[in-house]
């Protein structure tokens, strides 16, 4: 497991031992029903340029989180917000580990991503594969254009696929509701992108949308 530590070496101050302590505390929650405990920021105080407020990205308790960042915008630590009435400063082993979700070399598009992690270079802005071939980097704007209009050979775009059984037409008939493109949305998004996602789907001319609330 030492290799896991190496992935964060030299960039972040939080040690694996610190985390496992928090994780162990959370495990105690499960074992005995103890409260979650508050752990103060593990960032070096002198490095902290700003502290922000957010909520945990895991379960729907939405525990409060504080985020320390340095002057360059690096996230130094994510820890419990003791002002939050729900979580009172505590985080479970997922929430306490969300620091690592943010500073994760396996993330798409981050410069730290190395081909060694997945076998592909995911440092770019978007990726494409044909069949089961390898991923290749593609510019984000190009990807968006191809998604909508097709890539001029391999596949048709969303618009042509949408209209393949007849063009979408405003009105009160079934023609207003395309049946050939399915959308899956996400409880992992904030309210605003959720609202816009439902909006763009309606504007695209379909009600074929589902997300995790069904599962």
């Amino acid at each position: 497991m030492a290799t896991h530590d190496k992935e964060t070496e030299g960039k972040f101050e939080l040690s694996r031992r610190d985390f496992l302590k928090a994780g162990a505390a959370a495990a105690v929650v499960g074992a005995t029903g103890a409260d979650m405990v508050f752990t103060a920021s593990r960032a070096i105080a002198a490095d902290v340029a700003a502290t922000y407020t957010t909520t945990c990205p895991y379960c729907s308790a939405q525990c409060g989180q504080k985020v320390d960042v340095d002057a360059s915008g690096n996230v130094l630590d994510i820890y419990g917000d003791s002002n939050n009435p729900t979580s009172r400063g505590g985080l479970c082993s997922k929430g306490a580990g969300s620091y690592q979700l943010v500073n994760n070399v396996r993330r798409l598009g981050v410069p730290e991503h190395t081909a060694a992690v997945d076998g592909f270079d995911f440092t770019g802005t978007a990726w494409k594969r044909i069949g089961n071939g390898a991923w290749s980097a593609i510019a984000l704007d190009t990807a968006m254009t191809e998604i909508v209009a097709g890539d001029g050979g391999n596949h048709a775009g969303l618009k042509a696929i949408r209209d393949s059984l007849g063009a979408v037409t405003a009105g009160s008939t079934a023609a207003s509701n395309a049946k050939t493109v399915m959308f899956f949305g996400s409880s992992h998004m904030n309210n605003e992108p959720n609202y816009l996602y439902r909006k763009v789907i309606a504007e695209f001319g379909t009600s074929l949308v589902e997300h995790q609330a069904r599962i």
Partner: protein, 946 residues
């Protein structure tokens, strides 16, 4: 949640059935413990009752000791009850039967006297004068309406609807079609007696056989409920007072459930059974009471509110139907009658095209139609509404396709055989169906056949890297984490909290807001919105660019760097990038539906009228929505001493120091509706506005505020009696007395009690659930699963498989199985086995186990649907499950003989990989929600020989 996380502090009983909060919602445990160990010094201690097939870590919290000298120490009722997966309803109905029987058997007890006084409306506060809509369109009170429940309403034996009468209001106005109230609950026609006869079939012995529990278990849970409900509370019959909930003698039981309540073919009925028992026991609208869904993902409440589902649009409004006019559609929403009713109430009261004539949900929809497909510059009047109608025409008419069916429709063979349009492209934004959807073989068959697949995620997950046909093209777009994008999220307790943007999206990753704007821009530029712009001909929008009109208003011009967008909020703070765009969208959703008066700081862009009616408010005065610049004073609910909001965007409010009278932190974030922290509180909670609960006419009160258009005649909608359409396929008229009307136990679609194995045939006696079209008529067997889905029987698969979660990993896995530390804590998926089953299969603790169901197994790649060779070869994920074998007696073991439990977080991609639970789980679905029956299917187990 009808209540919220913090309110757990006020409970005296936690009834946990279908949840494991100690592992899956750990934040709740601090509040459970606050109540159990009396941290707030109220002289009372709460009991914990856990009903679950597994002796979870939550169940392990019971029996922490109690003070036998303190009558208010409820921990003496602590109990863990082990039931078979899929039998929740039988157990609840058994408890209901036991409670009602007890009440009749102990007529001189205080609890029974109070219980009947409550249901007969003879106790103080159990009936009130309520405002109803009269036939002439005005409102007037009717005295003596039951405060919380419909137990005295009389039911028509033939139609199943309520009996009706012409009623005169207190002021002598005619109200037609008014529900008829019995004199008391002894009337054989009343709801209470119907419930009594329905649950009478759930005798202690019958339930014990179904559930695999003891009759003592049922009696113990009965006693716990009676001791911790309104009938036993020190404030029974007392006037509302903030000190009530602080008394040692206060009692309120809450129900906590999660997917262990919902993931069954009868899941909705199970949740309904929770509602029945909480209403019967008077635990609704109570601090510390309620029905609390512990939802899964951090913003699943918000995403559901936003209607990203095949049958909804934002705000729980339905999709407009094919052929449905705007007036007909809006007439079905909460609001005012805009079309003539049926006789005798035939008057047309309002116009759907006059903003001031329509209310809340109607007005939100009106605003949303303009913001989605045009502009709020488009106005209408009864005389001229052609422009608005053009925008309404842009709504896709009719529902979409449920998730399980959608994957079938991607398969051209299935689509052709079933005469369905083939789905050829799929956009998966922040989800991982190649792990999370049941019966993966069918799911992956569908994904493989797509011409075009677009995935957006932080990681290259299983869905993005699923097997594809040679000509299929897949795109992958990089999303950022929660700290790199601003916006609001809505917790399970309906609290909205704002997330700061702490830094720009890292590297080349983008916020969802930016990716969505770029997607919309590309669609607009590609002509995908031409059916909308065609509608603008002849309107003020004629000739304008679709993106500029529909999306430009949020701040990004389609060209500049997104994170450099800037603007100010109402108070004048400068916002950048997603901070500003999110604020713009938030205003559109949450502003009062009638707009606001204040003009804000220099540079502020105002003029919004709210589209998300539940996040909004009806007017600009005291009752506030999530965004209301005019409402900055000490309002909703007023606090003593005064605490003002001080900001227009209340999701940003973080006053966590003032708990308020009812300990609900009313200035911390904002809760829908109207900042209600506890729904249906009916004025019992000090400082809050009266809510109302069930019963025809009553929902009207929920949204009453001042102003001209806000006293809406929603009551007429509720003069209907509605029921879920579930009907069992057997036992109707024998075991099932009023199925559909009241929750009915049915066996899972795969069950050991199917008559083919060693167990009695309970399927013949109780049936399975079906989707029915006519109430009371036996349903069509098996209509909650596709006929081509594989199903096993007990003869071949004798064990019950149930899926679970653990604290270290999350849902479909990408956001924990890529974190080294989470993976180190839980590297491999495991299987929980009883020692009896393990011994029979020759399995020792730590062995690898293959699980086999009719749909697949865990050591082969089912139907070769995963990329196992080449550049994208998946890791060694299909090695089975690591055995965790119980030791000691049954009482010590996690699962009972016959039950097998597996976590569902693992998949074939990521840092940590492992067997996929959904290669195994059945794709049968709930009759109302289409949630799959993840919690119960049949399997057998085999030791994996290395």
């Amino acid at each position: 949640m009808t209540n919220n996380w913090v309110d757990l502090d006020n409970s005296t009983m936690f009834f946990v059935c279908g949840a494991n909060p100690a592992e899956n919602h750990p934040a709740s445990i601090g509040h459970v413990n606050t109540a159990r160990f009396d941290v707030n010094g109220r002289g009372r201690n709460a009991t914990l009752v856990v009903v679950d097939p597994r002796q979870t870590r939550t169940a392990r919290m019971i029996n922490s000791g109690y003070d036998a000298t303190n009558v208010n120490d409820m921990r003496k009722h602590d109990r863990y009850v082990r039931i078979r997966p899929g039998t929740n309803i039988a157990f609840i109905n058994g408890v209901l039967n036991s409670i009602i029987t007890w009440m009749y058997a102990n007529p001189t007890s205080t609890a029974a006297i109070n219980f009947f006084a409550w249901h007969n409306s003879t106790a103080p506060g159990s009936a009130k004068a309520r405002s109803f809509i009269c036939d002439d369109g005005t409102t007037d009170n009717v005295s003596g309406w039951p405060t919380y429940c419909d137990s005295r309403l009389k039911v028509d034996a033939v139609t199943g609807d309520y009996q009706r009468e012409d009623k005169l209001s207190d002021g002598g106005k005619l109200i037609s079609n008014f529900p008829l109230l019995a004199a008391d609950v002894e009337d054989p026609d009343c709801v209470f007696q119907k419930l009594k006869s329905h649950v009478a079939m759930y005798t202690d012995t019958a339930v014990a056989e179904i559930c695999g529990c003891t009759t003592a278990d049922i009696a113990a849970v009965r006693d716990a409920f009676i001791a911790n409900s309104r009938c036993s509370s020190s404030d029974f019959g007392a006037a509302a007072h903030p000190d009530n909930i602080k008394a040692a003698g206060y009692r309120a039981a809450c129900i906590m459930y999660a997917m262990g309540g919902t993931q069954f073919t009868s899941g909705s009925q199970g949740i309904r059974s929770y509602a029945v028992i909480q209403v019967l026991m008077g635990n609704m609208g109570r601090a510390g009471g309620g029905i609390n869904a512990l939802r899964g993902i951090h913003n699943v409440q918000g995403s559901t509110d936003m209607g990203n589902l095949f049958d909804l649009i934002p705000g729980y409004s339905a999709n407009p139907a094919e052929g449905q006019t705007y007036e007909a559609y809006t007439n079905g929403l909460f609001g005012n009658r805009v079309l003539p009713g049926t006789a005798p109430v035939t008057s047309t009261l309002k116009s759907a095209y006059t903003e001031d004539d329509i209310a809340w949900q109607q007005r939100g929809f009106y605003n949303m139609t303009r913001e989605f497909f045009g502009s709020r510059a488009i106005v209408s009047s009864p005389a001229d509404h052609a422009d608005f109608d053009r925008l309404y025409d842009c709504w896709p008419k009719g529902n979409g396709v449920p998730h399980i069916e959608s994957f079938r429709r991607m398969d051209p063979v299935w689509a052709g055989a079933n005469s369905k349009p083939q789905i050829k492209a799929c956009v998966v934004w922040g989800q991982n169906p190649a792990v999370t959807e049941p019966n993966q073989s069918a799911v992956r068959k569908g994904l493989e056949a797509l011409d075009l697949l677009v995935c957006t995620d932080m990681f290259a997950n299983e869905t993005a890297q699923c097997k594809r046909k040679d000509t299929g093209v897949t795109y992958l777009l990089p999303a950022c984490s929660h700290v790199e994008e601003a916006g609001s999220v809505t917790s399970s307790g309906r609290w909205m909290q704002w997330r700061d943007k702490t830094t720009d999206p890292m590297g080349n990753s983008k916020s969802d807001l930016e990716l969505l704007h770029r997607f919309a821009k590309a669609l607009s530029d590609g002509g995908a919105f031409s059916h909308i712009t065609a509608q603008w001909a002849g309107t003020a929008l004629d000739g304008l660019d679709a993106y500029d009109v529909l999306w430009g208003k949020y701040g990004w011009d389609g060209v500049s760097p997104f994170e450099e967008v800037s603007g100010v909020d109402y108070e004048g703070n400068v916002l950048l990038g997603s901070e500003y765009v999110a604020e713009q969208v938030y205003k559109e959703m949450c502003a009062p539906v009638g707009g606001y008066v204040g003009t804000g700081a220099a540079g502020f862009e105002g003029g919004h009228k709210g589209t998300m009616w539940i996040y909004s408010t009806g007017n600009t005065n005291a009752h506030g929505g999530g965004y209301n610049p005019d409402q900055t004073g000490n309002v909703t609910p007023p606090m003593t001493p005064a605490v003002s909001w001080g900001m227009a965007n209340k999701a940003k409010s973080r006053n966590g120091t003032d708990a308020g009278d009812a300990f609900q932190y009313p200035r911390y974030g904002w809760a829908w509706l109207l900042n209600r922290r506890i729904f249906y509180n009916n004025g019992e909670l000090s400082g809050d506005v009266a809510d109302v609960f069930v019963a025809p006419g009553w929902m009207a009160r929920l949204w009453i505020t001042g102003g001209t258009n806000t006293l809406a005649d929603w009551s007429w909608l509720y003069r209907k009696y509605s029921q879920l359409s579930d009907v069992p396929d057997a036992g109707v008229g024998t075991n099932h007395v009023y199925p559909g009307r009241f929750p009915a136990f049915t066996e899972p679609y795969e069950t050991p009690y199917d008559g083919t194995g060693t167990k009695p045939n309970l399927v013949a006696a109780w049936g399975r659930n079906t989707k029915g079209s006519v109430s009371g008529v036996v349903g069509t067997t098996g209509n909650l699963i596709f006929s081509d889905s594989a199903r096993g029987t007990a003869a071949d698969y004798p064990l019950v498989l149930t899926s679970i979660r653990c604290v270290e990993h999350f849902q479909g896995g990408p956001i924990t199985r890529n974190n080294p530390w989470n993976v180190e804590l839980e590297p491999d998926p495991w299987v929980e086995l009883n020692s009896v089953d393990a011994l029979a299969a020759g399995i020792k603790d730590g062995d690898w186990v293959n699980i086999v169901t009719a749909r697949g197994n865990s050591t082969t790649d089912m139907d070769d649907r995963t990329i196992m060779t080449g550049a994208l070869a998946a890791g060694a994920w299909n090695k089975g499950w690591k055995a965790r074998v119980g030791v000691g007696t049954l009482a010590n073991q996690r699962v009972a003989p016959g039950t097998v439990a597996i976590p569902w977080h693992w998949g074939d991609r990521g840092l940590g990989v492992g067997a996929r639970a959904n290669d195994l789980c059945i794709d049968a679905w709930d009759a109302n929600t289409t949630i799959p029956e993840y919690k119960a299917c049949l399997c057998r187990i085999e030791k994996v020989t290395p």
